[in-house]
Amino acid sequence: MGEQHDSSPNGVHSKPVTLDVEFSGGLETLFSSQRSHRIQIPAKDDSEQPANLGFLVRYLCENLMKDKRKELFVLEDRIRPGILVLINDVDWELEGEEEYLVQDDDTILFVSTLHGG
């Protein structure tokens, strides 16, 4: 897609998106044992597409997750089955899952259902 446009790294053209990202149900242990993170991500992904949830997940893995056990969060580049994602309290299944375009001040909550009951 944007091959000739190699001089445009992430987010040069538009303002980064500011998000509240939260982890719960045991996932916080993978993210410095901290439930809430206010982060900024580039407004566009590597192929100049507006940042969506799929991009956010890759971004979190590469930039926010210090824990090496990536497979506890993603499997085959997608959110591990059994982890629920809520976008401003709404089940991401109602918002297009990975395709959802993130907006400034969105709260994205990742909750694991995989831990003991």
Partner: protein, 430 residues
């Protein structure tokens, strides 16, 4: 706060049609708003309770509470329903303190808060007080391998004893549809028809315990339980048991969750399949313990969510110096249930199983453990058998632990595995 803009019809709750939908139900794909979801979830649990006549007016029922999501949601929903539909039941929280620092001590704090929040009495029974051993000291003594067997045996008895102390003969646990689907799959994969038969029934009572166990959340999806806890802002604790290995159950769980992703109804379908299978299993096989002795821990009965141990404890084979206890346990097991071997129903399974010869039919006679008085079919109950080993081997254990440091994992655990298999075979043959 009223919404400034009208909500597009496609985003509206399909039940009340006035509020924005927040949830897509895994069972039905129905889109619901927060309030309609909470109400639907509660009314489904109520329907399960009513249709199975789970509770009797005027009775006291203990909720096996770990502080985790399932038992916390169970306690909250039961409180709500008891008030809404006037069950006339008194619910009490019953927690087990296994004595695992950094895990159970934290989750017990959650249960203590829940007791205040729900206005329920709380009883805590600890392994240390009952058995003289905390799980921390058991693991210190035997190592991490096989520790779930101890925890499982101890927990089952501890819940019974806790209930007994409270004068209660019914304990409800937070097992959900996902847990049961996992267990159905595991029992299928092991060819364990007796357990396949038992694991789907909503209420189980056995001759080995005067206390009935039931699972009011057996048709509730784990996803909905977590969403219920979130949307009701319930206070729950979520950390893995630090000793639990992610063996067989872990794989079954991953498979279930992957299936759910592609076909959300799969979970309930597996539960229903399990129920259907159980009606087809011949009565002979229902009481048989089909698993090889090392595997036939107590885990399948109690380990999938009971007061905390929801993912671990695949009850798998022994390690450390468990052989002695295994021997005694096997003896105990073989007498526990009427032993009729319907050969056609036993999967060939592992090589060691092929040496199995039909055991004599033995009537199960329950009596009190000569040491602690717990109901058992042997002289000593399972917990006392394990304890005898723990107490006897205390000095020997120190040596064992040192030896393990030298030759680490592989060779020593392999040797022990082989010894355990040999021993089990001897027991079977004898």
């Amino acid at each position: 706060m009223p919404p400034a803009l009208p909500i597009p019809a496609s985003k509206l709750c399909e039940s009340c049609r006035s509020t924005r939908a927040l949830i897509s139900r895994p069972k039905t794909h129905q889109k619901l708003c927060r309030l309609c979801f909470l109400a639907t979830f509660e009314s489904e649990i109520h329907a399960t309770i009513v249709s199975t006549n789970l509770f009797t007016r005027g009775s006291r029922v203990a909720i096996g509470a770990s502080g985790g999501k399932d038992s916390t949601v169970l306690a909250s929903v039961l409180k709500t329903l008891n008030e809404r539909y006037d069950y006339g039941v008194e619910f009490v929280l019953l927690s087990i303190d296994e004595g695992i620092k950094g895990y159970r001590d934290d989750s017990l704090e959650t249960v203590k808060r829940n007791a205040v929040q729900y206005g329920m009495e709380l009883a805590i029974v600890s392994y240390k007080e009952l058995y003289g051993w905390s799980m921390d000291s058991v693991v210190e003594s035997i190592g991490k391998k096989g520790n779930c067997t101890y925890c499982g045996v101890f927990r089952r008895q501890a819940l019974d004893r806790g209930a007994e102390r409270l004068g209660i003969n019914h304990v409800v646990t937070g097992h959900n549809a996902d847990d049961i689907a996992e267990t159905v799959l595991m029992n299928l994969l092991r060819g364990d028809l007796p357990r396949l038969h038992r694991c789907t029934s909503i209420i189980t009572s056995s001759t080995s315990s005067p206390i009935a166990r039931s699972k009011p959340l057996k048709y509730a999806y784990e996803k909905e339980i977590v969403l219920y806890a979130l949307h009701k802002k319930l206070d729950y604790f979520s950390t893995e048991c630090i000793y639990s290995p992610e063996a067989f159950r872990g794989s079954a769980r991953t498979l279930i969750k992957a299936l759910e992703k592609v076909r959300p109804s799969a979970i309930l379908d597996i539960v229903r399949s399990g129920e259907a299978f159980s009606t087809m299993i011949p009565t002979q096989a229902q009481t048989l313990d089909a698993r090889p002795p090392q595997e036939s821990g107590v885990e399948a009965d109690i380990g999938d969510g009971d007061a905390g141990c929801s993912n671990g404890g695949a009850g798998r084979s022994s390690g450390g110096e468990m052989e002695v206890m295994e021997k005694a346990l096997v003896a105990e097991m073989s007498g526990l249930e009427t032993q009729i071997i319907p050969t056609p129903y036993i999967a060939p399974g592992k090589p060691k199983k092929t040496k199995q010869t039909p055991k004599k039919i033995r009537e199960q006679k329950m009596s009190n453990c000569t040491r602690c008085g717990y109901l058992t079919s042997q002289k000593l109950c399972k917990a006392c058998t394990l304890l005898e080993g723990l107490n006897k081997n205390r000095p020997k254990t120190v040596v064992e632990v040192e030896a393990e440091i030298e030759d680490e994992e592989a060779s020593s655990s392999l040797r022990r595995g082989m010894e355990a298999i040999k021993l089990a075979e001897e027991v079977i043959m004898s």
